[in-house]
Amino acid sequence: MLLSYLKLAWRGWQRRKFFTAISLFGISFTLMMLVVLFALFDHAVGARAPERHTDRLLFISRMVLRGPESQSSSSLGYNFLQRHVLTLRTPEAIAVSEAYPINITLYVGQQALKADRRYTDSNLWRVLNFDFVAGRPYTATEVRDAAHVMVLNETVARRCFGTAAAAVGRAVQLEGRPYQVVGVVADVPTSRELTYAECWLPVTTTTADLQDPNNQRNYLGDFQAVVLARQAADVPAIQAEYQQVLRRLPIPDPEQFKEIRSYARTPLAHYMANHSNDAGQDGDAAAFWRRWVGLGLLFMLLPALNLVNINVSRTLERAAEIGVRKAFGATAGRLAGQFLVENVLLTLVGGVLGLGLAAGVMHLLNSSQFIPYAHLSLSAPVFGVGLGLALLFGLLSGAYPAYKMSKLPANQALKGRITA
């Protein structure tokens, strides 16, 4: 049965090569785009280094102070994190780092190099899973003693010293002081908004004032906390514990503000919240999916309509053949089924082509460094989503023509006179 379907499908495609080509073009390019978009999304939030345990990671990176007339929002103060977040009891470990990477200049001899830095504590290396290419992370002792040590990413290390291994132990001038490179990690792409940097430094070596005693009540600042749960199931408990801490906190400047809002968010929720001050703990996931799935479907609609139109035209062209089949006893359902199988097969072939094209585009994106340090690839979820979309596309574009075909009366079909 299936074999005969396949044979018929093959012959159908052969008969009108041009239309097969048009269909394949539409399907493969649509899927290519969707796959690349999904790959970009996956690249930003999927489980990959350094955020390998996406199900156990939480980021506390932002606080919004709300009042009836004013609103103030920022990342968090170092002091606030020390007093109210590092004291959380449920998580396995908590790290503190600068919330946004800052561009600095490194000097190696006479060579100057721009790099994005983050000040961090030593816990960051435990909570996140950086791939060390050479050397080691800096230790708690080094952070406590404000040792001038640093971790570089591979590209910067190579640019400074030729190879990653050669960088370890060497000195880099930063803000007039020599820092010793203790480790080199694999590049983190910029799309990893919360963890990207090119250069990591012990937070204690900063010249900025971390413990401003006059500002006990100021919760806002330049830092974020990275929280690792013992297991995925603990995530809600941690979020609840953090909310409880916030409820007990006095509101800074109560004349102006009435409410403190801050959440411990998963990387996905952070991504979906998209820096909106109004997003909830889950990053308004429902709205996010509605919007993107809607847009995706809309994007698929035009090529699908196109395919439907071509398919309908071809159905009418084949009306005589359909009439003969009907006259010899083929049921409407069977004819429609055959057509649907033919179309789904075509879209699957288009899907495979689309994945191939997507791989090419990703390679191009990677090598062009359009997104710095991007390493897009056809991972398993991307591959699965691609084939799933192809299938959906096939059903979407095949259903209506198949329905029309099954409705075609045998006598009219034989005469080949169909008006609508």
Binding site: Q110, A208, D209, N306, S313
Partner: protein, 400 residues
């Protein structure tokens, strides 16, 4: 003939419904691209107002140094930088420097004449800059004067420079804003002393916004600017950069600084602004190509399904040219149906003022998209129409 074609297409509306829907969607895509494209073009055509080659931005943080001390240190730093060979000029500025993504916006309720009705001027870029900015950035003063020694003497109304966009926003009728008073921050009144061409720090692709400039006098003790714009000699490089950074650190204990060239900031800003429109254009071109191929295919198939009809038309006395025109005309009629639907959607944008884009941009986009749609449809119909014109009536009529 045109009526005939429209009648025919109207009677075939059910059969062609999906095609019309497709054309409609294609129009919406074209309209979206047209809007973004003409908006960017419109913005790009406006003067940028400054030159950014060989200009560096120096951002510094005074660390734990108290503000009063930091102000003194800053004067030392400025003196040192100005004395450095290779440095042609240094201007202090608030952090909203060109291409920095930082902005400082304000809104004014403005009355043309004292006691007159007030209307809001929104989204004004407000700059606090040192008097050296004009020379460092190459600002062009078109009316009045830029800040100078006279402004060092504190008068009753501090001086203010505006740009031409702001002049137009204040006096659409063309009356000069020079010498007029502008109320900022509720009570304080500023006197307008000059007009510059523009200072579009948001970049050449962003919508030009009105701008106002307040001076940072050397004697200012309230405001600590944390950015410098430095014009350097052409060809200056890492050596000068290191020297500037070292000097700043040496003079200000605990000070840290970041130096970037405006060239580099411009490229990264441009990249960020252009990425989405570029992505959208690529996707749209692909979608339109898809639509074009599909339309072409459908028209082609339709010709073979209509051989008998076209044969009859030939038999009844239609020359080959008339058949070709019929096919193109039918396609354009279908396009018109889709276009009408699309226009219904498109005109909502200027009517409702949605998305805050200028009406002229929408109108350009509507016209461009309509033209492109007709062009697309015509190209798709050309080959099928030739095919149709080549039908031999004797053969076509015998087939059935």
């Amino acid at each position: 003939m045109i009526r005939h074609i429209f009648t025919l297409m109207w009677n075939r509306r059910r059969a062609n419904g999906l095609l019309v829907l497709e054309i409609f969607l294609a129009y919406v895509v074209l309209f979206a691209v047209g809007t973004i494209g003409s908006s960017l073009w419109e913005n790009y055509r406006q003067p940028l107002g400054f030159r950014f080659d060989n200009v560096w931005q120096v951002n510094f943080l005074p660390g734990t140094q108290p503000k009063a001390e930091a102000l003194g240190t800053l004067q030392q730093v400025l003196a040192r930088l100005r004395a450095t060979p290779g440095v042609l000029g240094v201007a202090v500025t608030a952090s909203n420097t060109p291409f920095s993504f930082n902005d400082s916006r304000t809104a004014i309720d403005f009355a043309d004449r004292p006691g007159g009705p007030k209307r809001p001027i929104n989204n004004i870029n407000s700059y606090a800059v040192g008097p050296e900015l004009r020379d460092v950035m190459g600002l062009e003063v078109t009316k009045g004067r830029w800040f100078d020694q006279r402004d060092a003497v504190a008068g009753s109304h501090p001086p203010l420079v505006i740009d031409e966009q702001m002049q137009r926003a204040m006096f659409p009728t063309g009356e000069s804003a020079l010498g007029k008073l502008l109320t900022l921050n509720k009570d304080k009144q500023w006197r307008i002393i000059g007009v510059v061409r523009a200072y579009r720090t948001d970049g050449e692709l962003k919508e030009p916004l009105p701008a106002i400039f307040g001076p940072i006098a050397p004697a200012d003790t309230l405001f600590l600017p944390q950015s410098l714009l430095v014009r350097v000699a052409p060809g200056s490089g890492a050596a000068l950069e290191k020297r500037l950074a070292d000097d700043i650190r040496r003079i200000g204990p605990g000070w840290t600084s970041t130096i970037r060239t405006l060239d580099e900031m411009h490229s990264s800003q441009l990249k960020q602004v252009i990425t989405r429109p570029l992505l959208l254009s690529v996707m749209s071109i692909f979608l339109l190509l898809n639509v074009a191929l599909g339309l072409f295919g459908v028209l082609w198939l339709a010709i073979s399904a209509r051989r008998a009809e076209l044969g009859v038309r030939r038999a009844l006395g239609a020359p080959a040219g008339a058949i070709a025109r019929l096919i193109v005309g039918e396609t354009l009629a279908l396009t018109t149906f889709g276009l009408v639907l699309g226009l219904l959607v498109a005109v909502q944008f200027p009517l409702l003022g949605a998305l805050g884009e200028r009406t002229s941009v929408y109108l350009t986009a509507i016209a461009l998209a309509a033209g492109a749609l007709y062009l697309l449809a015509t190209i798709c119909a050309l080959y099928p129409s030739r095919l149709a014109a080549g039908i031999r009536p004797a053969v076509a009529l015998r087939e059935e």
